[in-house]
Subunit: 436 residues, 2 copies
């Protein structure tokens, strides 16, 4: 939708068709757990970013919902759209594959009711309707990443007893090293969520409706199960169009989101983008990058020459009043990538020590030994602490070293910070760790 | 105190004397308005950072309060300390001049009671004691910088009617361009403070006790008057020691805080430091830089070779729930410095538009036309928005351009940010302004 909007803004007389398989083309996926939890009020339209009406009447996009692109003939520059039992074949000058990713479901859910993978707004609507119709008594969330953690929080908010299964020992393990991840475990457990960590879900139990989730020999009772096990890119249409794929099975694109096939572009969660720390392609299925990619594709189709500047994978979330954010690589990820990564975690307050309302926080910096180059940063703390990650995202973006971060001139006043900023102290401690 | 602490940590057997003219050597000056307002509770010891007891017993510093250094003989390496009517002459291997700055008082206050310049903790204690003894009925604050604004807020908190006089049309004019400054004016006026802007205080009226502040022909009634007109460095001891002064009348130092006289160092508010945007010496009397300078002096005295990395003058404050922060140069300041500076201000929310509790904010970026080099940034917004300035402080520190900022990978999730970060949008708008 971003690509389509940019094109129509630049070339109002062009005919831009958007084929959307679901009922809504542009919505805030990240808002779904909060809408399910009734933190965001109103109907599902609260999460709609561009309504079909606005897309058509204001932006002039020929948006077709409940319409699936089923095949591509790149030689003939033709795509087939399927809607309401009928096929339509339309020609294109440019084809944009924004097919996204699908929820990863590593076991057969056997068509059981009560099992959800929150991917499209329709999934959230179905979950919420089902829960209103028949309030659940016990939830199991599979996966302790963002969706999993946020859905566990939603069940806590809704007063539904909940178990959370995660394959690693600590939650949010893709963005937090274990020492900080443990703080998240503790907070989640303190909220009454049963944590089942270091364990994999093997399947679901039940007839018609889910009755439990199987973890090895144990079956964890559930009348609602939510799977938050990440996503896998949907490259099927790209493959059919003859596009080269990358080793991860995604449509291969250059920095301007051109595929190997002329006039076929791909962007969003269907492709890999350049990671700014490793310099290598990475799968970073986050809203900002998809939006940015859409804009670049739109500009390039109308004759621009923009390229994707790279991603750090900066992320942020919360569980109750515990906030979590990270950017770049964890120490564990950096070491897996073969880097000599050192790290240190420090404790700080969010305000001057004597100031009322000071929140505790811990800040962690990961850097390359020797060069001192920043590789990543993590923060876990109380209310209104996590957006501090942006300072490290900016530093990391610019290729800062520990010495830079230690010297940076961050804002201090008693209601907002200690004199010595947590990041400056973390940088100093990481430099010390690197020397030892 | 920071220099002394570093030296004792590195060289425990050295004899380190600290002569402090007041009663407290290490306190949070920035906390004083909040302590006066009873936002910070407890006695004045709440603001003490290092108590005399800790300085002596834990850190091993020979701290002498109510002791003023009155003269220096650099050739003989001797300093005279005056205390309780007696002079004592002591020899030194190294002398650190951390004499700070004095409140600027541009007119004769004629020894009137009820007139305060909040500089030392003793000033705050006196103000609070006097107000407790005889609650004021009308306050005038002279100066709409940080101290002035924070003291106006304190009087609002205390329920004392207040007028605020500021020489420029908009408040906080050293850190905010006028469009953002107007928002501060509006909020301060909405809180019931009488704003007298674009006007200078010419003097105080009264016999024994202040009765008013004179602005041209008008006398603004007051039984308490607080002057927040900035500070001027106290270089008198440095001058006597034979140290070269800079054109601003401050002790001239190199990046390691060495003066022109051997074994005499100067740091803190008594000296100028290098501004990282202009590359020129600047007077930036802020806590962080004084602390950092103290550390560097300490390290260098024991044989290190550290240098001050430069200052951006990043600042932050609040008035009620309105938060304000800035880093680098305003457009006005950049233009005064001869730069071709462009700027743009954008409006944004602090969270996803549909998320409850979204705060309004405005972000402004100042950049050099042509190069696109970032020169400064400003933010004014609701609760928990202003610490976002650190992202721009980091970007500015690293020499980022508008293109960098627009591309940066800031943290997004609905409870924390819109998908497009305010800084990214502000950078795009500033780039657009630069092209037009």
């Amino acid at each position: 939708m971003t690509a389509a909007s940019v094109i129509k803004r630049r070339k109002p007389d062009w005919h831009v068709v958007v084929a959307e398989a679901g009922s809504v083309a542009s919505f805030s996926a990240c808002g779904m757990p909060y809408w399910v939890a009734n933190v965001v009020e109103g109907g599902p339209e609260a999460l709609v970013v561009v309504s079909a009406e606005d897309a058509r009447n204001v932006r002039g996009i020929d948006l077709r919902v409940h319409t699936r692109a089923t095949s591509v003939d790149a030689a003939a520059r033709r795509v087939t759209l399927h809607s309401q039992g009928r096929d339509e074949s339309i020609n294109y000058d440019h084809l944009v594959l924004a097919t996204g990713a699908q929820a990863r479901v590593p076991f057969d859910t056997r068509g059981l009711n009560g099992v959800y993978a929150l991917r499209h707004l329709d999934d959230a609507v179905r979950l919420k309707q089902d829960m209103n119709r028949s309030p659940p008594t016990k939830a199991v969330v599979v996966g302790g990443g963002f969706v999993g953690l946020e859905m566990a929080e939603a069940f806590v908010e809704l007063g539904v007893p909940c178990s959370l299964i995660h394959s690693r020992p600590t939650l949010l393990s893709s963005i937090l090293d274990e020492d900080l991840g443990r703080l998240v475990n503790e907070r989640v457990a303190a909220a009454g969520v049963e944590l089942v960590v270091g364990a994999r879900a093997d399947g679901v139990e039940g007839t018609d409706h889910v009755s439990g989730v199987r973890v090895g020999k144990r079956v964890i009772e559930a009348d609602v199960a939510v799977l938050g096990l990440g996503v896998q890119p949907d490259a099927s249409l790209g493959k059919e169009a003859g596009c080269e794929l990358d080793p991860g099975g995604r449509v291969l694109v250059d920095d301007g989101f051109r595929t190997s096939v002329a006039r076929v572009w791909a962007c969003g969660d269907a492709v890999a983008v350049k990671h700014r720390v490793t310099g290598k392609p990475a799968f970073v299925p986050l809203a900002l990058h998809a939006n940015r990619a859409g804009r670049i594709v739109g500009e390039n189709i109308v004759g621009g020459s923009e390229s994707f500047p790279g991603a750090l994978g900066t992320t942020i979330t919360r569980f109750g009043e515990l906030e979590v954010a990270a950017t770049g690589l964890t120490q564990a990820a950096a070491q897996r990538a073969g880097m000599d990564a050192v790290a240190a975690t420090i404790k700080s307050g969010s305000k001057a020590i004597y100031f009322p309302g000071t929140q505790k926080l811990r800040a962690r910096i990961v850097a390359e030994r020797g060069s001192g180059r920043l590789l990543g940063a993590q923060i876990v703390g109380g209310k209104d602490t996590a957006k501090r990650i942006d300072a490290m995202a900016a530093a990391l973006w610019m290729g800062a070293t520990l010495k830079d971060v230690e010297a940076m001139d961050f804002a201090y006043a008693p209601p907002f910070n200690p004199v010595w900023d947590p990041w400056a102290i973390a940088a100093r401690m990481t430099a010390r760790a690197a020397r030892s």
